[in-house]
């Protein structure tokens, strides 16, 4: 883990302490289960947000903070009475602190089957560069 990564992790731990501002709507806010994988070209963030239609997903980048918000569609069965509850409807929200190595202009987001996939490409300058060592004759 390099210094940049460590910074990101620390920032995220802090995020847990500094609670985000409350929502005006009275909905429970869930933290989506997330996978974060890094390859040499990009960082991929995958969030589980079941019941969220594509139109209700908001990904915003402000300063260094990438915020993911998703509102679940109304989860009711009209004319029926609820007899068993295993989940509640609400909204998903999670924020990640990005380091400078991300190329902000090329971030891509795709939502399918209740799963949000974000591709955060790394900026050219932060990609590891191999320097060839020439042997002197």
């Amino acid at each position: 883990m390099n210094v940049e990564d460590k910074k990101a992790v620390q920032a995220e731990r802090k995020e847990g302490v500094q609670r985000m501002a409350e929502m005006t709507r009275d909905l429970p806010v869930f933290v989506p289960a997330t996978d974060i994988c890094e390859s040499k070209d990009a960082i991929e963030v995958v969030c589980d947000m079941p019941g969220v239609p594509e139109t209700q997903v908001d990904v915003s980048l402000e300063d260094n903070v990438l915020t993911i918000t998703g509102c679940q569609a109304a989860d009711e069965a009209e004319g029926y009475d609820l007899v068993h509850r295993g989940y509640r409807e609400g909204m998903f929200r999670r924020a990640f602190t990005l380091t400078d190595e991300i190329d902000r202009g090329r971030i891509r987001a795709r939502m399918a089957q209740g799963v949000l996939r974000l591709i955060l490409p790394k900026a050219e300058k932060s990609k590891p560069r191999k320097i060839a060592v020439e042997a002197e004759k």
Binding site: C37, S39, L82, G86
Partner: protein
């Protein structure tokens, strides 16, 4: 003046009430992760609706089967392919096989059961079997 009575049976019932309350708090919501998928069930006199939060699964990998009052959901959530050069910093999303069974308060007309999958939520509509529908009996005056 009103004095609350604290007889033994009263305080015990109060304790029981609190216990129920706490059980309800922890029991009502299964909480994601503990039992996957999380399921809500609605019923009315004509049938039931079951919804399950199963994000990121190919609908072809979900199986729903119905037998009398019992509904079974099973399937598999596949792991994303990870190449060797990738490093995973977080892996919170679960994967693997899942199965859950529910017993409804009535038998289901299995030929009329329908299921759909949208935005990562499975919805199964379970019409009540004609034979299991309550019959209204008229009370006649003698």
């Amino acid at each position: 003046m009103f004095w609350p009575e604290f007889s033994e049976s009263n305080s015990l019932s109060e304790l029981r009430r609190i216990q129920n309350e706490v059980n309800r708090l922890f029991g009502e919501y299964e909480g994601a992760g503990e039992s996957f998928p999380a399921v809500n069930i609605w019923t009315n006199k004509d049938g039931a609706v079951l919804k399950a939060e199963i994000p990121g699964v190919d609908p072809a990998d979900i199986a729903v089967s119905v037998q009398d009052e019992q509904v079974d959901i099973s399937g598999e959530r596949k792991q994303d392919p990870v190449s060797d050069e990738m490093v995973c910093h977080r892996a919170e999303r679960g994967f693997g096989k899942f199965a859950r069974s529910f017993t409804l308060p009535f038998a289901v007309e299995k030929d009329k059961v329908s299921a759909g999958y949208k935005n990562g939520v499975l919805m199964v509509t379970l019409p009540r079997a004609e034979a299991a529908k309550p019959k209204q009996i008229k009370v006649l005056a003698e």
